[in-house]
């Protein structure tokens, strides 16, 4: 089930996939599932610094993946 949250990161153009840890879970983003959402501002701050992800702090809709 997709994770919902106030903060969203997604794969940048040209990146085929990415993996990182969010709390206790291993997250894998792919072209079919390119976004991840969280309510954790510290996690978002870290993820949005990654060179292969772009972030937005705006509330997101049900289209988000995770």
């Amino acid at each position: 089930m997709a994770t919902k949250g106030k903060f969203k990161v997604e794969l940048k153009s040209g990146v085929d996939g990415a993996q990182f840890q969010a709390d206790d879970k291993h997250i894998e983003l792919t072209s079919d599932n390119p976004t991840f959402e969280t309510d954790d501002p510290a996690l978002y701050a870290g993820l949005s610094q990654l060179p292969f992800l772009k972030g937005s702090a705006a509330p997101t809709s049900e289209k988000a993946g995770g």
Binding site: G17, F20, K25, P51, F52
Partner: protein
């Protein structure tokens, strides 16, 4: 009973989907190039107490610290897995470039320490604690990895996949190019680079398992042995520039890149926006041998953490976790 040869030991590994959920099938099967492997790590001490007979107290188990540590030769097919483990995050692009960048929260892994046909110990909820690479002229490029787990299980069923270890080319020193300050001087005769996550285990009250682990200070340190061709490094270290004549309080730093490339599609590149030199030594060789200077450095804190150190592995595998075999 059959005697077991000593060169059969292997380590299997796979990333976990979540903490507390051990992987069921490994993706990687690592060979070792020296002593090493896993240790359930029961902590055994003596608890002193008075005794009229003056005998030493019995031993007591007070906890466990499961660890794995092994060394082997760097291969392009395996290094993306190791780089992601120590850095924490990875991105895959093209055919096939894997960029590992540092993040605070490290993935959990399951590892199996196996003496084939005899012994198999599984280590759960493991995190990479340190990864070092080193090489010198006329030698291979080796890595040493140190991993801490939260629990160990003895006598588990031995994995059957991957059936074989990676067999692609082992990297060696002729594949190395070190570039500092944008220039590759060709004088680097040896190097070492260590990424340390300073992982701390939080033990709690879960018996001989631990509650969790957490990464601490991210520290990257290295050494280099350079063919001595002049006093530039010495003056940069003490004075801040190759032409300096006065000492400075500044720490000299410059960009750093270490590439180990078998080919354009099979390579590992370590890149830092800035390394700071912490030591330089110009030794005396009374036997008349040429001078090889010794340098020590660490990466410099960056506003964007990824610029501290990025590891880019190019190989023929779709992701960092894809099995090499």
């Amino acid at each position: 009973m059959a005697v077991t040869p000593g060169n059969t030991r292997v380590i299997y590994g796979a990333v976990q989907s979540a903490k507390g959920t051990p992987a069921t099938a490994p993706t990687h099967k690592f060979s070792l190039n020296s002593d090493g492997a896993g240790n359930p790590g029961r902590e055994i001490i003596t608890l002193p107490e008075t005794d009229a007979t003056m005998q030493r107290p019995d031993n007591t188990v007070v906890g466990s610290s499961p660890v794995l540590e092994w060394s082997n030769w760097v291969r392009g097919s395996e290094f993306a897995f190791l780089a992601k483990g120590i850095q924490g995050a990875n991105a895959d692009a093209g055919t096939f470039t894997h960029t590992a960048t540092p993040v605070q929260t490290l993935p959990y892994y399951t590892f199996w320490d196996v003496v084939p046909g005899s012994q198999c110990t599984r280590f759960d909820d493991c995190r990479f604690s340190s990864l070092a690479v080193s090489g010198e002229a006329l030698a291979g490029i080796a890595y040493t990895v140190s991993i801490v787990g939260l629990s160990a299980t003895l006598g588990v069923t031995e994995p059957i996949v991957p059936a074989a270890q990676a067999t692609d080319q082992k990297f060696s020193y002729p594949m190395v190019t070190v570039t500092i300050g944008g220039v590759a001087p060709g004088t680097f005769d040896a190097f070492s680079l260590t990424i340390n996550r300073n992982v701390t285990v939080l033990r709690g009250d879960l018996g001989l398992a631990s509650y969790d682990s957490v990464a601490g200070i991210y520290a990257v340190e290295g050494t280099a042995r350079k063919i001595y061709t002049g006093d530039a490094d010495f003056r940069k270290f003490h004075g801040g520039s190759a032409a300096a004549t006065t000492l400075t309080t500044a720490i000299f730093s410059e960009t750093f890149s270490l590439q180990v490339a078998a080919s354009a599609t099979n390579k590992v590149v370590f890149t830092s926006s800035s390394v700071e030199y912490t030591e330089t030594t110009v030794p005396v060789n009374v036997d008349g041998a040429p001078i090889l200077s010794e340098l020590a450095f660490s990466t410099k804190r960056q506003p964007v953490w990824a610029n501290n150190l990025t590891i880019v592995t190019t190989n023929s595998l779709a992701t960092a976790d894809t099995s090499p075999t």
